[in-house]
Amino acid sequence: MRRPRYCMVFVREVTAIFVVAYVIVLLSLVVSVGGDPESYEAFRDFLASPGMLVFGVITLLFTLFHSVTFISLIPRGMAVWRNGKRVPASTIAGPGFVVFAAVVAVVLLVLLP
């Protein structure tokens, strides 16, 4: 922990666990939709419980952190050259952030009443 970068990478790796956990929750939701109405309602109640709401908020924050850091790192791995000059990192990461923001906006539009 003496080096902040080590700590940052460790935190970033840990965020992936929450992303995976949320995928499992979503898959469970799909399974409950396929089941009887009672089990679906029970699962909805479970998702609305305070613990799951806290889990959802934490997962949202971690997913945002994971996504932003991932997109920021893309230019390091992609060396694009144009007219003998390397394309700036912002030109490569920028579209990534735009697409990410667009997807988030669409999801919010669909979900929010």
Partner: protein, 247 residues
């Protein structure tokens, strides 16, 4: 000469395997770098101190050490940046210590040779045909990676090297990538066999500390990620080619 500073220097005797820190207080001049301080200690205080150095201008890469816990090229780091001290000087971590501040380079040199860091040609052209020409644009794609001086600070900073002794490591993988990008080279396939092995690029977790400590701004972490992209492309290319040849 005027102000005083204290160096806490790591001492190690390989015969007795005893290690300790020894304090050296000395007067220094404002323009002195850490290496000047070590040379002063060896020249005027304790001649038994052992450390490696050569060019004193950030070119040879010999004088990499840990200064106050951070991998540092001691000829390029001023004493005044660490005042009021004390300044702790230790050998590079992740290497076996030979004596005092000198580390064993055998493993690094073995890995270096493993990656074939030279231009590989399928068939050498006769000298009378002249040199292999290259455009400035072709040179630009890999020039940054030629600036590596093998100071090994990146090995000292890398958490993967500290846990996986066989990991080829940042500098050598960067050098491999440098030659793979060179338009005059034809040895990328051979080199990628080594780089894509279990001890190669996929062991890198992209902490990026190697690029932080690099005194030449080579960006080994970037080079390794670019190699990963090249490796994946090569895999799919070979997959498509082999599928095509079966038809």
């Amino acid at each position: 000469m005027g102000s005083k500073v204290t160096f806490e220097v790591f001492r190690f005797d390989s015969e007795t395997e005893e290690s300790s820190y020894q304090d050296f207080e000395m007067e220094y001049e404002d323009e002195w770098v850490i290496l000047d301080g070590l040379n002063y200690i060896k020249g005027f205080i304790d001649g038994s101190l052992s450390h490696r150095w050569s060019c004193r201008m950030g070119v040879c890469g010999s004088c990499g050490m840990i200064v106050n816990g951070y991998p540092t090229l001691t000829c390029s780091t001023f004493i005044r940046d660490y005042l009021p001290g004390p300044i702790r000087v230790e050998p590079l971590t992740n290497f076996k210590v030979e004596r005092d501040l000198i580390v064993n380079l055998d493993d690094f040199l073995r890995k270096l040779q493993q990656i074939s860091p030279w231009i590989v040609r399928d068939e050498e052209r006769a000298i009378e045909h002249g040199e292999y020409l290259q455009t400035p644009a072709e040179l630009a794609t890999f020039k940054q990676f030629t600036l590596c001086i093998n100071c090994m600070l990146c090995y000292s900073a890398c958490p993967v090297v500290s846990h996986e002794l066989n990991f080829i490591g940042p500098a050598v993988l960067t050098l491999g990538h440098r030659y793979n990008l060179d338009s005059r080279d034809q040895g990328a396939d051979m080199r990628l066999d080594e780089m894509l092995s279990s001890d190669g690029i996929w062991s890198c977790t992209f902490v990026g500390e190697c690029s932080q400590v690099c005194p030449k701004h080579v960006d080994p972490a970037g080079a390794i990620q670019q190699s990963k992209v090249s490796g994946v492309m090569a895999y799919f290319k070979s997959f498509v080619m082999s599928s095509g040849s079966r038809e």
